[in-house]
């Protein structure tokens, strides 16, 4: 009874993780950059979502516009920085990314943007209804998270495996030079990758904002590192791996807290799992050799 | 005086067998290791130099088993090597690259933490070595700025600085023009005459045939032929192996 309820809650928590990490794992797969500013895209998505929602009152429209804006924002980030740093040592784009994250978080916190305070995102379940069974219940919000996550994942799966674009990303993730040698327009391909990955980050921001009913400028602090734990656990760049890692992490965190309580904060537990796995299975759960 | 024995060495990468029961021995000569792509030549080098522990079999240097030693241990027995894809220390100067080779005896000791490496004595040694490989004029340039051919020579100089008894050269002539290859061959002969036992992997047939005293041919992880260059040139198995690849 309690077990199933815990499991269903963990599933939704996993969905929020999947959303945070899915875009990042795509971007990492192709660019191999520790894109910490991804968390800024997530925050921008949530912010745009809550703005549009408060103007128009329509959640789905808010979600779509938020994804569009964060997609464009992501491409701008790519074109303005990473584009020039592809061949630099790994620390260079990393520090640039940190710089962007610091800058955007600080700017977003200003009164003319998000301000210092948290904002409610009262979209509720966006018209969906709760599921109540004898064994467990999903609130309307949880149904919303689950549904949107599934839809987005199916969409991404189709794009990744059934379109030329998806195949070009796969090629680029194996070997960028080879990919361009076989006639892939690398720039367009990476920009499209960033657009989709960032749109997913925006969707994550919106959904987590709705789920916790709060949107604020520093909300990106959590995904700035949590999303990395997940994509490493999953084997960097592997989407199925990230999904599996999200599920495992959510279940471990949830059950550890439910059984023994907070020995350490959930994020530290996640990092411990990460370190142990790096020591004993350095390529991730589903990583390639 | 050195003798290297490879005894029934087999190695698997996952399900893929890279070496099958390879056995041969070599002492004080210029030995060529040839074979088509994917024959397992570099894997064998990695086994000998301690980068890979073979799944089965053993490697003996002067009668001492070395196949369980790490790379940084085999070098101290006098087994130096170069790499097929050159690995110069890109941010260091040519001089520093070679100096790094002089440190071999110090690295495992606590002395390394306080002994200064840039001594007059060491710098003189470096000067001689750079002259030997004709790199003196590049002494102070960063290794990354050298053209590939010079980087290969730099790697040889770096390996020589460790005072090796056996020198493993992985495709030393790759990417060199004829003139450069000729100079390289002279250098190798010269090293051999100074008592260094040389084993080299080579893709360039003519280069190998001219230089080597004996040749071992690998194909698909197995030794298919062994002998002096003249024998190998006319060995049917060898011809087939190369033709099959083409």
């Amino acid at each position: 009874m309690l077990l199933l309820q815990n499991l269903s809650n963990a599933l939704i928590l996993a969905c929020t993780y999947i959303l945070m990490a899915a875009g990042l794992t795509m971007v990492y797969g192709v660019l191999k950059v520790l894109h910490i500013a991804h968390a800024s895209v997530y925050t921008v998505g949530a912010f745009v979502g809550v703005l549009v929602f408060s103007w128009l009152g329509n959640f789905w429209l808010a979600l779509a516009i938020a994804m569009l804006v964060s997609g464009i924002f992501g491409v701008l980030i790519y074109r303005s920085t990473y584009f020039y740093l592809l061949n630099a040592p790994r620390t260079v784009p990393l520090i640039a990314s940190v710089g962007m994250f610091v800058m955007f978080t600080d700017l977003l916190q200003k009164p003319f943007l998000m301000g210092a305070y948290q904002r409610a995102f009262p979209a509720g379940g966006a018209g969906l209804s709760a599921i109540k069974t004898a064994l467990f219940s999903f609130t309307a919000k949880q149904v919303l998270i689950l549904l949107v996550t599934l839809i987005l994942l199916v969409l991404v799966y189709i794009i990744l495996t059934r379109t030329k674009l998806g195949l070009s990303w796969q090629a680029a993730s194996m070997d960028r030079e080879m990919a361009s040698a076989v006639g892939i327009n690398l720039n367009r391909s990476i920009a499209a990758n960033f657009f989709l990955g960032s749109a997913l980050a925006g969707a994550a921001g919106v959904l987590v904002g709705v789920y916790n009913n709060s949107v604020f400028a520093t909300m990106g602090d959590l995904p700035s590192y949590k999303a990395f734990i997940i994509i490493v656990l999953g084997g960097m760049g592997s989407l199925p791996g990230a999904i599996l890692a999200s599920l495992i992490l959510a279940i471990v965190e949830n059950f550890l807290v439910a059984s023994v309580g907070y020995v350490l904060p959930r994020d530290s537990i996640a990092f411990l799992v990460l370190i142990l796995m790096l020591m004993f299975r350095p390529n991730g759960l589903l990583g390639r050799e | 005086m050195s003798q290297l024995e490879i005894r029934s060495v087999s190695h698997w990468f996952g399900g893929l067998q890279a070496l099958r029961d390879v056995t041969f021995s070599t002492s004080d000569e210029i030995l060529g290791l040839i074979g088509p792509n994917g024959a397992g030549k570099t894997t064998l080098f990695n086994v000998i130099s301690g980068f890979i522990v073979p799944t089965r079999g053993e490697v003996l240097l002067n009668g001492k088993a070395i196949h369980r030693l790490r790379a940084d241990q085999t070098i101290r027995l006098g087994l130096a090597r170069t790499f097929q894809i050159v690995k110069p220390f890109a941010t260091l100067t040519v001089e520093e690259n070679v100096l790094a080779g002089l440190g071999t005896p110090y690295y495992p000791k606590a002395e390394a933490l306080y002994k200064i490496y840039r001594t007059r004595e060491n710098l003189e040694k470096i000067e001689q070595m750079l002259e030997k490989v004709h790199l003196s004029e590049y002494r102070f340039s960063p290794a990354a700025k050298l053209p590939i051919g010079l980087q290969r020579r730099l790697e040889i100089a770096r390996a020589l600085a460790t005072h090796p008894k056996v020198l493993l050269l992985d495709e030393p002539a790759a990417g060199l023009v004829a003139q450069e290859a000729e100079e390289l061959a002279d250098l190798i002969r010269d090293l051999h005459s100074q008592g260094i036992h040389i084993i080299l992997i080579e893709h360039n047939m003519r280069f190998a045939m001219n230089l080597c005293q004996r040749i071992v041919v690998l194909a698909q992880g197995e030794i298919i032929a062994e002998g002096v260059p003249a024998e190998i040139q006319n060995n049917e198995k060898v011809i087939n192996a190369y033709l099959g690849q083409e």
């Binding site: 809650n9 074109r79 303005s80 916190q109 409610a120 009913n213 520093t218 | -």
Partner: protein, 432 residues
């Protein structure tokens, strides 16, 4: 087009930065959005308008004359102020700063202090101790402040306190609750109620007001939560409460469902949950979602209109202990709540009230002492009695340990607003 795009991009950012820089700095124009969702009947009764000046009946209130105050003139009297207006703690830092600025404005409208205008010298410390210690020196040496207020968290406040102590400048910690802060020395005072005291009041509320017995305690993993729980458990033992579950959770936690399951299984009749409004909003919403209907008791960390905004319906019925009685008819409380909302377009919170009161206390002390001598100011604060000119008052008196003694109220959320639930005036209980 070598890097033109990137330059363009950053030019855009710098531009927005310049545009923003031109805007009057920390005080935003009243937010353009309509205050639609904030229901009007927030103020329950007593249309006590802003026009009423100071509290006339207060026995020892400021000498602020009831009639026309003369405009302050002369050299301004400087008070130092630091709070985090950037970084993760920006929400609290901004509330504190805005409230302190409001207090200064009100004081200057009433003729200032000793006939001179009051000036707030502000620096952002980003809630970092290294910044706070440098700022403390800057305030003392460069700005020559006569007193200072920390509108920051415990770590930063604790780092600044010894510097003020050594320089002999009084410092008031607005809402930082680490018990060690005031132990630094005789120049360091506190406005907020010590967390252990508030924890005791929490236990009293549960055991003797609500008459419940089985408690589950949730402790947020910082000095605030730990001190609260310590006080709560101490008094709980005295009055015979049964603690059926005790859990610690991290600051910023958003997922309380696993713990809620444990609370349900524990047979608790009430939850005493320490934390701040964002954790609390998630906690109560998730508790109600998961069907946990027992009362949830919070503290001043919840005391922000944001709590009600974020938790929505789930906030209904939540009871907190706090220094700020929003139903109070005391003029200064009304003045603060109303002016804050009309000036900043947001409703005031507890953190703001503490910073506001800190300015009020210093202004009073300077007036009473009749000088800006730091020693005299400190002495005047210690001797203050039944002080009414504060939002979270009245301040009965300061203990020799420089902690304030005053009634503590508990508030319940009803109809989307905090209302008085019970007032604790037993001196033995509310004295630290």
């Amino acid at each position: 087009m070598k890097r033109t795009l990137s330059v363009l991009f950053f030019a855009l950012i710098i531009l927005s930065f310049i545009v923003a820089g031109c805007a009057p700095q920390p005080t935003p124009a009243p937010a353009p959005e309509q205050p639609a969702q904030t229901e009007a009947p927030q103020v329950t009764e007593a249309p006590q308008a802003t026009e009423t000046p100071a509290a006339p009946e207060a026995p020892q209130a400021t000498e602020a004359p009831a009639e026309e105050p003369a405009a302050p003139s002369g050299e301004p009297i400087k008070i130092g102020f630091f709070s985090p207006t950037t970084g993760f703690a920006a929400a609290d830092g901004t509330s504190a700063l805005q409230s302190a600025q409001l207090a200064v404005k009100i004081i200057n409208e009433r003729g200032g202090v000793l006939g001179r205008p009051l000036e707030l010298v502000f620096y952002d410390d980003a809630a970092k101790p290294d910044q706070a210690s440098a700022i403390a020196r800057k305030l003392i040496e460069q700005d020559k402040v006569v007193a200072a207020i920390s509108g920051s968290y415990s770590g930063a406040t604790r780092a600044a306190a010894p510097i003020f102590q050594e320089a002999g400048i009084p410092m008031l910690a607005a809402y930082a609750i680490h018990p060690e802060i005031t132990k630094t020395g005789d120049m360091i005072f506190r406005i907020g109620t010590l967390a252990t005291t508030q924890g005791r009041v929490g236990a009293e509320l549960v055991g003797n007001v609500m008459n419940l017995k089985k408690v589950a305690i949730l402790t947020i993993d910082n000095d605030f939560g730990i001190s609260l729980t310590e006080g709560f458990k101490q008094h709980a033992q005295e009055i015979g409460l049964e603690i059926v579950l005790e859990e610690k959770y991290p600051l910023g936690e958003t997922e309380f469902r696993p713990i809620i399951g444990k609370i349900k299984a524990s047979g608790a009749e009430v939850v005493y949950a320490t934390g701040y409004y964002n954790e609390a909003a998630n906690l109560v919403s998730q508790a109600r979602d998961e069907g946990l209907e027992i009362p949830i008791i919070g503290q001043e960390g919840y005391d922000s209109p944001k709590f009600i905004e974020l938790a929505g319906e789930a906030a209904e019925g939540v009871i907190i202990t706090t220094d700020l009685n929003r139903d109070s008819e005391r003029p200064m409380t009304r003045l603060f709540l109303e002016q804050y909302e009309s000036t900043y377009g947001e409703k005031a919170d507890m953190v703001g009230a503490s910073a506001f009161d800190a300015v009020m206390v210093i202004a009073y002390a300077i007036n009473t002492a009749g000088s800006t001598d730091p020693q005299a100011i400190a002495k005047a604060i210690l001797e203050l009695k039944n002080f009414e000119d504060v939002a979270s008052g009245p301040f009965w008196y300061y203990t020799p340990e420089r902690e304030v003694v005053r009634p503590i109220s508990s508030q319940i959320v009803r109809g989307g607003a905090f209302h008085l639930y019970h007032e604790f005036t037993d001196e033995a209980l509310v004295k630290p």
